[in-house]
C-alpha cells in the first residue's frame, strides 16, 4: 500500500465513521433510555434517505431542506413508534424487539410500495471531486466532505444539548438509572419520547446525508444496523462518547481490511473485534460495568 492509497483509505474511513456515528449515537440514545433493542433503526435510516430522494431529487427543493425534512419526518416517525409500540412494551424488552421487527417489515414494504423495489442512485449538489492538500491523486467528493461536516455539527449540537440543557440532564439521568430519575420527578414517558425523536432524527439525518452516496433502496437499512450494533457494543452501551470513538475505530478497521483483503473478511474482522471486546471488557471501551 503506497502513501497515496493509504491516505485515500484514511479519507474513506473518516467518511464511513461519520455517518456510522450518527446512526450509532441514535441507537445508543434509544437503548440507553428505553432499554429497547430497536431493530428498525436501519429502516429509520432508510426512511431518511427516501425523504431526501423525494424532497431533493423528485420535488427539486434544496438539499438542505431535504435533510431538514428528513430529520423532522423521521423524528416524528420515531415519536409514533415510541407511543404506539415501545411505551406499551416498557417492561417487556423482547416484546419491544418484536414490535420493532414488525415496524421494520412495514417500513420496508412501504418503501417498496411507494418507490419501487429498484434502488435509486442520484447525484447530490456537491458532486465534483475536491483535491486535498493540492495533491491531484488525493481526492474526495464534495458530498462526502459535506457528510463529514454535517455529522460533526449535528453530534456537536447534540453534545451541547445533552450537557447544557435541562432536558439533556434529565435524559442522561434516566439513562443512568430510570428508577432514581423517576423518584426525582423526571417524567420517563417524556424523556423516552425525546430520546426516540432524537435517535430517529439522527438516523434520518444519516440516511438523508448519504442518500446521494450509497444507493437508496428499501433494504439499505440492513447494512448499517449490523455495523451500528457492533459500534455500540465496542463503545459501551449507554455511552455516547464511546459510540463516536467506536464508530471511528470500526470504520478504520473495516475500510482498511476491505481495501487490503475484501469485504467479507472485513465483516468477519468487525464481528471478531466485537466478540473480543465483549469477552475482555463487556461494558465496552467507555461504558461503566453494568450492575446485576
Amino acid at each position: 500500500m503506497d502513501l497515496a492509497v493509504f491516505i485515500q483509505t484514511c479519507l474513506n474511513a473518516v467518511y464511513a465513521s461519520s455517518y456510522l456515528a450518527l446512526v450509532a449515537v441514535g441507537l445508543v440514545l434509544i437503548f440507553g433510555v428505553m432499554r429497547v433493542v430497536n431493530f428498525a433503526h436501519g429502516e429509520l435510516y432508510m426512511a431518511g434517505a427516501y425523504a431526501l430522494f423525494w424532497v431533493f431529487h423528485q420535488t427539486g427543493l434544496p438539499f438542505f431542506l431535504g435533510v431538514a425534512v428528513a430529520i423532522a419526518a423521521v423524528g416524528a416517525l420515531g415519536l409514533v413508534m415510541e407511543r404506539a409500540l415501545f411505551r406499551p412494551m416498557r417492561n417487556n424488552p423482547l416484546g419491544g424487539l418484536i414490535c420493532s421487527i414488525g415496524a421494520l417489515l412495514i417500513l420496508q414494504a412501504g418503501a417498496v410500495a411507494l418507490f419501487g423495489v429498484r434502488k435509486k442512485s442520484f447525484a447530490g449538489p456537491y458532486n465534483e471531486a475536491v483535491s486535498l492538500f493540492g495533491v491531484e491523486s488525493l481526492t474526495i467528493s464534495g458530498q462526502r466532505l459535506a457528510v463529514i461536516a454535517f455529522a460533526v455539527a449535528l453530534l456537536g449540537a447534540l453534545w451541547v444539548f445533552l450537557k447544557k440543557s435541562r432536558f439533556g440532564w434529565a435524559l442522561r439521568a434516566v439513562a443512568q438509572d430510570p428508577d432514581a430519575a423517576a423518584l426525582q420527578g423526571i417524567s420517563i414517558g417524556r424523556i423516552s419520547m425525546l430520546a426516540m425523536a432524537l435517535g430517529a432524527g439522527l438516523a434520518g439525518a444519516a440516511g438523508a446525508l448519504t442518500a446521494t452516496i450509497v444507493p437508496t433502496g428499501p433494504y439499505m437499512g440492513h447494512s448499517v444496523i449490523i455495523g451500528a450494533f457492533i459500534v455500540i457494543i465496542v463503545g459501551g452501551v449507554g455511552s455516547l462518547e464511546g459510540a463516536v470513538v467506536a464508530s471511528i475505530l470500526y470504520a478504520f478497521v473495516s475500510t482498511f481490511v476491505t481495501t487490503i483483503w475484501d469485504g467479507v473478511v472485513a465483516d468477519i474482522a468487525g464481528l471478531l473485534l466485537m466478540l473480543a471486546v465483549l469477552v475482555a471488557r463487556p461494558q465496552g471501551l467507555f461504558g461503566r460495568p453494568e450492575r446485576a
Partner: protein, 425 residues
C-alpha cells in the same frame, strides 16, 4: 402531484387491471382456454429487484397478448395468465412454490431467477417433467434436462464487449477487474479473464467485494492503485455499477470502463459527467434502440413494450424487465412449433433443429462444454456503448464464432474459478 403517489396509483391501477383481465377474459376474448405460466422468483427481500421488475414485464406481455384475443397454439386460442409465487430467494419456499404452481395451479411453464433457489426445485421439476427457465445458466447441468437458459447466457456474452474493444481500442493493454462475490459475479470474472487473455490484455488484479458492501471508495482505491487502461466492473448489481463509476470519477480515473450492465446510465452520467461516461462499453441495449427494429429480432414491438413499461413503472426498467418477457416469446415460439402447450413438447419445439428464436436473432442451443448440457441459447449479442449520453448498439457479435477459436481459454478459466458444472459443490 408527486412522483411517489403517481407511482403508487399506477401500481394500484395495474393490479386492478390485471385482476379485471382475469375475470373478464373468458367472456371478452375468442380464446377457448387459459394457459398458465408460473413466475417463481423473489418478490420481497433484498433480491426482489431481480424478480419483481420481471413480473411486471411478463404481466405487460400477457396483457398485450390477451388484448389481441390471446395466443394461438396448435389450432386453439389461449389467454395467458401469469401465476406468481414469491420464493424470497429461499430454497424451501422455492420448493413449496414449485409444488403449488405445478400440482395445484397447473402451469405449463415456470420462469425462475434461479441461483440459490434452483437446486431445491430441480428434483421437483424433473419428476413432473416441467419446463423451467433460469436467468443464470450456471444452474444448468446434466441433471437438469428440463431447465433452459434462453434469455441471456450470462456471463458468456460479456466476451463480446472485450472483443469489440480489442478491435477498436488496440492501445488498451492492462485491466483490473472488480466483482461482487456471488454466483453472478464469479463466473463473470472467469469470462472476462478468458476474453482479456484471448485478446492480449493483461489483467493486473481481480478484487472481490461482498454484496453487502455499501462504500465503494476502498474498492476503487485498490483498483486504481494498479493504474489500469481498462476498468472492468464485471457483472454487478445496478447500484454497484453506479457507485463504482461515481468512485472512479471522484478518484480521478480517466481510462476505459467496461461493465456487463449500466442500468440507469442517465443517473450515472448525472452523478459523474457526460464526458466521463462517454465510451463506456456494456451489454444491454435500451429497447428504444432503432437497431432492435431489425426483422431478425424476435421480440414483439420492443419500442412499444419499453414505452408501456416506463409509463407504468417509472424508474423500474432494467435488464430483467424484458428478459423474463422475452423468454415468454421463446416459449410461445416453441409451443407453436410443437402445436401444444405440454411442457415436454414445448421443450422439443423450442429446440427444433438445434436452433431457437432468441430475442437478438436466431441462436444455437449450446453449453455442453461449459454446463454439461446443451440447454443454453447463444447467438448474436449486442455490444453497447454510451455515446453523447445515450446507449447505442455499436455492433452485434457472434458468440459461437468466438467460441470456436477461444473456447479452450474460457474453459481453462472456468476451471480455475471452480465454475465448471462438474466442479460445483
Amino acid at each position: 402531484m408527486s412522483f411517489a403517489s403517481m407511482n403508487r396509483r399506477n401500481f394500484l391501477g395495474a393490479t386492478a387491471l390485471a385482476g379485471a383481465a382475469t375475470v373478464a377474459g373468458p367472456h371478452r376474448a375468442r380464446a377457448d382456454d387459459t394457459v398458465k405460466i408460473g413466475f417463481l422468483a423473489p418478490l420481497t427481500g433484498d433480491v426482489a429487484a431481480w424478480g419483481l421488475p420481471g413480473l411486471y414485464g411478463c404481466e405487460i406481455w400477457a396483457e398485450q397478448k390477451n388484448a389481441m384475443g390471446g395466443v394461438e397454439i396448435g389450432g386453439a386460442t389461449y389467454n395467458v395468465e401469469i401465476v406468481s409465487y414469491d420464493n424470497e430467494y429461499l430454497p424451501d419456499k422455492a420448493r413449496t412454490g414449485a409444488q403449488k404452481l405445478i400440482a395445484e395451479d397447473g402451469v405449463s411453464f415456470i420462469e425462475m431467477l434461479g441461483g440459490d433457489t434452483m437446486p431445491a426445485v430441480t428434483p421437483i421439476a424433473n419428476r413432473a417433467e416441467m419446463l423451467v427457465s433460469t436467468l443464470l445458466p450456471s444452474d444448468l447441468s446434466p441433471d437438469t434436462p428440463f431447465l433452459v437458459a434462453p434469455a441471456e447466457v450470462h456471463p458468456i456474452y460479456n466476451l463480446t464487449g472485450v472483443w469489440w474493444m480489442a478491435e477498436n481500442m488496440p492501445d488498451a493493454k492492462t485491466a483490473v477487474i472488480c466483482a461482487q462475490d456471488d454466483a453472478i459475479g464469479r463466473p463473470s470474472v472467469a469470462t472476462y479473464l478468458a476474453a482479456f487473455e484471448a485478446h492480449g490484455v493483461e489483467v493486473k488484479d481481480t478484487i472481490f467485494f461482498d454484496i453487502s458492501t455499501t462504500d465503494f471508495a476502498p474498492v476503487m482505491t485498490a483498483m486504481l492503485a494498479h493504474k489500469p487502461d481498462i476498468l472492468c466492473l464485471d457483472t454487478a448489481y445496478a447500484e454497484f455499477v453506479n457507485e463504482l463509476c461515481k468512485q472512479a470519477f471522484v478518484q480521478g480515473y480517466g481510462g476505459q470502463i467496461v461493465s456487463c450492465t449500466a442500468d440507469f446510465y442517465a443517473d450515472i452520467i448525472a452523478n459523474t459527467s457526460e464526458e466521463f461516461m462517454d465510451g463506456v462499453i456494456f451489454q444491454f441495449p435500451d429497447f428504444d434502440d432503432p437497431a432492435l427494429n431489425d426483422p431478425r429480432i424476435n421480440f414483439d414491438d420492443p419500442n412499444g413494450f419499453f414505452q408501456t413499461y416506463n409509463e407504468r413503472y417509472p424508474g423500474q426498467w432494467g435488464a430483467v424487465s424484458w428478459e423474463y418477457a422475452s423468454i415468454l416469446d421463446l416459449w410461445l415460439d416453441g409451443a407453436r412449433k410443437a402445436g401444444s402447450i405440454e411442457p415436454a413438447a414445448v421443450l422439443e419445439g423450442m429446440k427444433q433443429g438445434g436452433k431457437g428464436a432468441h430475442a437478438f436473432g436466431e441462436a444455437d442451443w449450446w453449453g455442453e462444454e461449459l454446463f454439461g448440457i446443451d440447454n443454453a441459447l447463444v447467438g448474436d449479442w449486442p455490444v453497447v456503448q454510451i455515446q453523447n449520453g445515450k446507449a447505442v448498439i455499436v455492433e452485434f457479435k457472434n458468440i459461437p464464432e468466438w467460441w470456436s477459436e477461444h473456447g479452450g481459454t474460457m474453459i481453462e478459466h472456468f476451471e480455475e474459478m471452480g465454475e465448471m458444472w462438474y466442479q460445483r459443490a
